[in-house]
Symmetry: C2
Subunit: 447 residues, 2 copies
Amino acid sequence: MADQAKPKKQLHLAAFMRPVSLHSGAWRYPGAYPDANFNLSHLKSFIQKLEAAKFDAFFMADHLAVLNMPVEALKRSHTVTSFEPFTLLSALSQVTTHIGLAATASTTYDEPYHVARRFASLDHLSGGRAAWNIVTTGNPETALNFSLDEHVEHAERYKRAREFYDVVTGLWDSFADDAFMRDQETGVFFDPGRLHTLNHKGENFKVKGPLNIARPVQGWPVIVQAGQSEPGKQLAAETAEAVFCAPRDLESAKALYADIKGRVEAAGRKREHLKLLPAVFIVVGDTVEDAKEKRLKVDSLVHHETAIASLSVALGQDASKFDPDSPLPDLDILDTNASKTGRAGVIKLAKEEWLTVRQLAGRYGGYSGLSFVGTPETIADEMATWLEEEAADGFTVVSPFLPEGLDAITDKLVPELQRRGLFRKEYKGTTLREHLGLPRPKNRFFE
Amino acid sequence: MADQAKPKKQLHLAAFMRPVSLHSGAWRYPGAYPDANFNLSHLKSFIQKLEAAKFDAFFMADHLAVLNMPVEALKRSHTVTSFEPFTLLSALSQVTTHIGLAATASTTYDEPYHVARRFASLDHLSGGRAAWNIVTTGNPETALNFSLDEHVEHAERYKRAREFYDVVTGLWDSFADDAFMRDQETGVFFDPGRLHTLNHKGENFKVKGPLNIARPVQGWPVIVQAGQSEPGKQLAAETAEAVFCAPRDLESAKALYADIKGRVEAAGRKREHLKLLPAVFIVVGDTVEDAKEKRLKVDSLVHHETAIASLSVALGQDASKFDPDSPLPDLDILDTNASKTGRAGVIKLAKEEWLTVRQLAGRYGGYSGLSFVGTPETIADEMATWLEEEAADGFTVVSPFLPEGLDAITDKLVPELQRRGLFRKEYKGTTLREHLGLPRPKNRFFE
Ligand SMILES: Cc1cc2nc3c(=O)[nH]c(=O)nc-3n(C[C@H](O)[C@H](O)[C@H](O)COP(=O)(O)O)c2cc1C
Ligand SMILES: Cc1cc2nc3c(=O)[nH]c(=O)nc-3n(C[C@H](O)[C@H](O)[C@H](O)COP(=O)(O)O)c2cc1C
C-alpha cells in the first residue's frame, strides 16, 4: 500500500543529438553512418526510435562557429556541418508526436525578441514540446562571426543572460492564454485588455513588445541551463527547470546535486522543479567485456595525432614522446603544467583499465567525460544508484556511434529500465512539461 | 515547328501566405477559418493544395513587431499572431516535396551569420527549395524591440543590406560542393583545401567564417527583393532573382518592368535571371458579377471605423463626414492634403465601380492594391496580357479569404491557365531554381 501511495521515482532521459555523438571517432565505427549528423532521413529515424523508447527529449546543442581547432584536427571532425536547431527541430516536429524538442540558443549572440519568438513558434508547431537551453557561448571564435573583435567577458555574459531570460519570459506572457476570441460576428479578433506591452528597459536591452505570437502551449517552453561555473550554477538555480551538467563521477555529481538543489530552494523555488540531467556516454554490450571492447574500438578510431594532442593537454606535457604501445610511465615524479586533479585522473584511468598510451590518447581525443559501459543490467544498476543517491534526476545520453550504439540504448537498456520501473513505458501526457513533471508557469501579467 | 522550337512563355506563381490573406476582413468571410493564419493543420492543407496546383513557391512575409496601428484597429486584425517563418517553413518542408519555401529575413535587425545559416539549413532540409526575401524593414516600431531608440535611416538600411548580402552569399560559399568525402578508412571528413574562410571586414560587418554548414543544395537559396524605392530597385537589380512588387495597374507595371530589367542589364546580368512577380489580390467567381459581389462582401466585413480611417488617409480629408450610403461627393473642388494621384485614384475607382462611401472605405480598409476579380477566363486573359506585354513574369498571389478563395484559385483559375499553356502541369525539377528557370550560382571561391 505504501508502494502504491508513493510511486517509485523514475529517471528522465534526454538524448544529446548535436552532434549525434560527441565522440570524434564515432563516424568511422564499422557500420556507422558517416553522415549521421547531417542526414535528415537518418535523424528522422533516430528521433523516431527515441520516441518509441519514450525519451523525454531530443536535444540539439548549438555553436555559432566551426569548432575552434587546428585544421589538421578539424578536417577529421564530423561536427563541421550540422543543421541549425530551429529548422531541424521544426522539421522533426512533423514526424513525431510526443518527444520533447530542446535547442540551445545563445544569450550573447542573439536578440531576445528573436529567441522568444522562435521558441514560441516551435512550441506551437510541436503542440507544447519545446525547450530552450540557455547558453552564454564559450567559444571565443564566435565573436569574430558577429562583428566583434573579442569575446564578451564571462561575468558580463552571465549578467546579460539573466536579463535576456527576463525579457524572453516577459515577451512570452504578452498575450493571456485566452486573449484570442476570433469572433467573426463582432469582428473582434482578440481582447486588447488581455495584451500586455512589456516596455522592458534594462542594462543590456530595451524591448518594447508585445511579441507577435500567442502565448506558447506550455506557457513557457521548458528552460534548460548548462553552465558549470559559479554564475552558471546560480543562473540555473534561479531560472532552469532542467540542467545539463558534466560531473566526472558519482561523488562529484552528488555534491553538485546538493549544491544546485540547495540554491534552488534558496531562490524560493521547489527542489523538484529543477531536474539535474548529467551527460553520460553510454556503450551497451552483450557482456561487460564486449562493451569495453566496443569502447576501445571507437577510441582507436580517433586519429593518433589528434588523440595525442588531447592527452598532452590532460597531462600537461608532450605525450608523443612516450611509446604509444606501452603503459603510461610513472609520472608522479615529473613536473607538469596540468592541474593535479586532472593529471591524477589520467593516471588513475590508465591503471584501472590497463590502457596503453595509444588507448589512453584515444580516450582523451574521443570522449573523456562520464561514461557507463557495460550490459543493460550493469548500466541500469548504475543509473538506479545515481537516482537513489541523489546524484541525478536522469541523464543526457550521448550515443557512442550510430545507428548501432543508439539502437542498443533504445532496444536493450531502456527495456531493462522499464522492467525495473525506473523509466516510463508510455507517455502520460503530450507536452515536455508533462514528461518532466514540471508545472505550467502562470502568466505574470494575467490571471 | 516554330512553336515547338520556342516554347511558350509561362507564368510563375508564388502564394503570399503570411498573413494568409492581406485583406483585413478575410477572417470574417462566411465559411472562412478565423484562425487560418495560425493553425498548422490549415496551413498544411493550403500548401498541399498550392503544391498540387504546381505553384512555384509559398511565401511567408515577416515582421518583427506587431503591426503599428491603434489598438482599436489592431484588435480586429488576424495578423497579430503568426508563426515565425523558419519554424513554419521547416515544418511544412516535411509535408511537401516540390513547392518553393520563401521567407523574409531582415538585414536591419538580424545578423548575416544567423541568416546565412538558417537559409542554408532550410535549403538542405527541403532538398533545395528555399528563397530569401531580403527586406530592410519598414515598420519603425521594430527598432523598439531591438534595443534601439530609433529606426535605422532608409539609406543606411540599404547600404547595410547590400553588405549583408555579400556576407551571406560569401558564407554560403564556405565549402566547395564536393568538400565532404567522409572517408571512414582514412578518417578524413572533409578536404580543408575545399574550405574557405571569408574574413569579411566591411563598413557594417566583420565576419570571419566559415559557416558551420555545407553549401546549400541550390548553391545559394533564391534571392528575392521587395523594396520599392530607388535604392530598393537598385538592390534588386544587383542581387535579386525574383522581385515581389506592387504596381497599381498594367501601365505602371510595364514601366517598372522596363526599369528593373534595364537596371539588371546595366548591372551586367541577364534579364531573364530576374523574375518580376507583382502582388495581386485575386477573387474568382462563376461570373464576373459573382466575383465582384464576393469582393464587395469581404470589403463589407472590414470594421467601418477602421475602413473610414483608411479612406480618409487616401483622400487626405475626414471621410466620416460623408453619408456612408451615398456616392462620394464631387471632391475636385475641395482642398485636401492627399497627393493628387492618390486622390484621383479614389475618385476614379468610386465612379468606375459605382461605390458608396461605405463600400469605398471597405476597399481601402481591406486591400486596395492591384486586383484581378472575375471568372477564371477573364483573369487568365489579364494574366496573359501582363505576361505578353512585359508587365510581369508571373504573380505573387494574395488570396481573398480561406479556404474558399484559395480553392477557387487552385481548382478553377490554375486549370484554365494550364489549358492555355500559360502554366506548368507538372514540376520539371525538384528545386525552386529549377521551377523559376534560374541558374545555380557558381561558388565564388572554388571551381
Ligand atoms: C551537456 C552540456 C551541453 C552543453 N551544450 C552547449 C551548447 O549547445 N552550446 C554551447 O555553446 N555550450 C554548451 N555547453 C557549455 C555550457 O553552456 C557552458 O558554457 C560550459 O559548461 C562552461 O560553463 P560556464 O559557461 O558557466 O563557464 C554545454 C555543456 C554541457 C555540460
Ligand atoms: C509583395 C511584397 C512583399 C513584402 N514583404 C515584406 C515583408 O515580408 N517584410 C517587410 O518588412 N517588408 C515587406 N515588404 C516591404 C518592402 O520590403 C519594402 O520595405 C517596401 O516595399 C518599401 O520599399 P523601400 O523599403 O524600398 O522603401 C513587401 C513588399 C511587397 C511589395
